[in-house]
Structures are given as C-alpha cells and as structure tokens.
Symmetry: C2
C-alpha cells in the first residue's frame, strides 16, 4: 500500500484533493498547546506566543507523503486530526516504520535544525495538518528561550521513543513487539482523550504492523491471529480492543517512563 506505484499516484491526489487555508487557526495551535502541557510546564506568555504562530491548514488523504527522504522542508507540520507514520527504506526495498504520530504531535520538528530529511512522513488516515514556517519557529525560539526549551524537550522525547523502539525490534519476540506497540499507542492516545473504554484507533494494515515490528506481512498476520486466538486483543477496522489487560501488559514489557508524560520526568 505504501509502495512506489501508489505514492506516484498519490502525488496527483495531493494536487487535486488537498485544499488549504492560510489563516491562523486557533483550534489547531490549541491542540499543540494541549500536547505540550502534558510533557512540559508552560506559562501564559508561552501559550500566547505559540498561539500567535501563523499556521497554514491542509487536508491530506490516507497514504500520502507529507515529506520525503531527501527533502529540505521549510516548515514543520502539526497533526490536528488523523494518524501518520515515519518510515525509512533500505536499498533492497524493505520499509521500516519508526514511529506512529497522533494528533498534537509535531513529527518533523527536527527539520528546524536538520536541513535534509532522512526519512518519509506518510499519512495513515485522512489528516488535517497545520504547517508552521521555520522562519516563525526560529523567531519564536530565539525570542523566548522557554519555548525553545519546550520544543527541544519535545524532540528529546521523540528520541526517547526511538530508543525504546530499537529495544522492541531488537530484543522482543514478535507477539511482545506487537503488544508493546499497542500499549505505547494506547498510552499516548489516553493523554489526548482518544481512548473510549477498551477500544482505540490503530489504523495500520497488517502489512504496516509488520513494517513496524520488522517482520513480513504474512508473519504479522499470524501474530495478530495468535493474539486474537489467545483472547488478548481484537482488531477491527483500524481499531483495537483490549480483551485481556493482564496478558497484554505481561507481553508488552512496557514501562512508560520514556514517554516523559509529566513535566517533572
């Protein structure tokens, strides 16, 4: 689904289907502020400064590339609605998913100080994205060191998630890998109020689940089936239901410390 063919096609779709509004969209920066509050302490001045950032809103279809390996973006993108993944290809055509992004995340904040992108950023679902120019971000971080530190911290949490992802892919057996990814996603969705009861969204195809775990789609299918047959999880239409919380946590070997979800951590 994320193959080259499809992406070439998607490029036309971008031109045809995405429409944009160049207004400062308060509801979008509010999502950002909510997100930053969970990980850092913001004062009123910081909030005002962030809210005053000019945002360009764009809508994307599922499976579109937002930015690509080798790009030199001039803006950062804030997810207001929808899910994205960051991924990287090897020369023999295998794709590795590096992280999953949810509303409130700024997946490419790093491009502010790293000029060339070393990976792809792709939408999983329909997305509403807010783009903020590097010019304004640099200006705000120069003028308000506190905001700079909050953004810096955000990229550091990103890095902490990568470290955890390495351990997951490198050391755990496949069923644990899947459980771990599921629990991590759920913890992050909880913070933005997107978990209702035992259900939450995880809009990955089994092929993408495989790409996240570092295994083939066929084997990913077997692992998903195994967790379903063992009454641990239920997958349905891009959503997940936790059936056996106990077993899930045992498998996942999850310690949420690395998410640094409280400012003091």
């Amino acid at each position: 689904m994320l193959g080259t063919e499809k992406i070439r096609y998607s490029f036309l779709v971008i031109l045809l289907q995405r429409w944009s509004s160049a207004l400062t969209d308060e509801s979008i920066t509010n999502a950002l502020i909510a997100r930053l509050r969970t990980t850092s302490a913001l004062d009123d001045h910081d909030v005002q400064a962030v809210q005053s950032l000019p945002v360009v809103v764009k809508h994307y279809q599922p499976g579109q590339a937002i930015v690509r390996d080798g790009d030199r973006p001039a803006e950062c993108c804030l997810i207001s609605k929808g899910f994205c993944v960051r991924s990287k290809m090897t020369s023999n055509g295998r794709r590795q998913i590096l992280s999953i992004y949810i509303p409130g995340d700024i997946p490419d904040l790093q491009s502010l100080h790293l000029n060339v992108l070393d990976h792809d950023l792709i939408t999983l679902t329909e997305c509403t994205l807010g783009f903020i120019s590097h010019v304004f971000l640099r200006e705000i971080t120069r003028r308000r060191p506190n905001v700079a530190e909050i953004f810096w911290r955000d990229t550091l949490i990103d890095a902490a998630m990568f470290r955890d992802w390495i351990v997951n892919v490198g050391q755990r057996p496949a069923p644990s890998r899947l459980a771990h990814i599921v629990v991590e996603l759920r913890e992050r969705l909880k913070v933005i109020g997107q978990v209702q009861g035992a259900w939450f969204e995880m809009p990955l195809t089994q092929e993408q689940i495989g790409e996240a775990m570092g295994i083939t789609p066929v084997h990913a299918n077997r692992i998903v089936k195994q967790l379903r047959d063992d009454n641990v999880l239920e997958f349905h239409r891009g959503s997940v239901r936790v059936i056996d919380e106990q077993k899930l946590l045992e498998l996942a070997d999850f310690d949420g410390l690395y998410l640094h979800q409280r400012p003091s951590l």
Copy 2:
C-alpha cells in the same frame, strides 16, 4: 561482561580508582568544539562561551556505569578519551545496545531537559570524561541562543542515528547489520582523525556486538567468523581492519546522510 555481578563490583572500583580534577580543562572543551564544528557552524563568541564552561574531569575503568536507568543526573558528560555505549535492558534480562560513543560526543546531553534517564551509559574502555553541570549548560544556552541551537542540533543528530539503528536492527540480515555498524563507526572515527589506514578501534566483545545487532553472542560469533572467512573484515584485539572495502559497502547499505556531518546538512 556487562552483567549485574560485574557492575556491582565496578561500583567499588569507581570509588577506589577514579580520581577527579575540578579545573576547567581546555583540552577537553577543545575536543567538544572540534566535534561541534564538524556538524555546525560556530562563531568566535560561541567558541569562547563553550571554552569558558567549567569542566570536572574524571577517569573511568572499562565496564563502569557512568549513569544508569532511572538516574536524575545533574551534569552532562563529554567523552575526551575512550569509548562508551548506551544500552537498555528488557525485563527478561536481555540487553540492547543503542549507540556507540566516541571522543567528542556528549552522550547524555538530553538529560539537560529530560530529568529521568531511561537507559544506561557504560564505558567500553578506559575513559577520560569531562562533566559539565546542567546549571552552567542551562545558563549558556539561555544566554546564547546560537549555542543552544548547536546543542539542540547535536541531540537531533543523535536521534537520527537512533532512527538508522532501528532500520538496521529491524530490516537487515545479520551480516549486513554488522557491516553497517562497522561502517557507521568508521565514518564517525574518520571525522575525529582516529582511522589509520584500514585499521580502526571497535572495542566491543562479540557479546556486545551481538547486543548491538539484536542477536545472541553465539550467533554474533558466527557472523564475525563469516565476514572474516569471506575476507571482508578482520577483528583483532578490539580493532577492525577492512579487507574488502567493496564487499563491506555492499553489505552495509550505508548512506551517511543521517550523520549530518556537514553544517549545511
């Protein structure tokens, strides 16, 4: 070698064997400046500011923990001499090495804004480390936004290396993984002038090589043997010699872009 037993023993060794000098050590900050110059553009004021940072120098034995999972460090450490690894354990006692650090690196710069450490930092060889208090680092980054951005950028490069490490562990067959790690290390050592001819230092035991690749020590041994038998690499006393550059690069699937070794990248 990195087991709990050994580390408990090492703790005594720290008390007995490390001696410290609380002077501002110019030769140490010079290593840092050399390192930062390769990735970022520094002006004279930045250099002066960095050189004026008070540094506490300490010496470590091989296999000692510098900081541990769960610590809340109050200082960052700069490697002046020697090699370190960052690693993380799973609950079933398996260790994953996340990155290898060489002279000029600041492996835990992230602790400046992430209070709780989510991994271990361990010396591989005898090390000379310079410790810089968070207080001074915060002060310099507040006073000089340019220095803040350079340090920020440094942590972003760290994150880029993690991303690449995920791909390596997740997608490549074991011989390629090893080749990739070897080439990455060599490229970084080149920049600090630590590659003489075909030889360079890679002071990992085969067990640690396995921990870096996400495989067992026994299998790591077979992979090392395979690359030796295929006349690609020669390992001897913690050093590596490249025999067949061509084959090595083919295996490694290495694109150094993610190291961002030039300020414009």
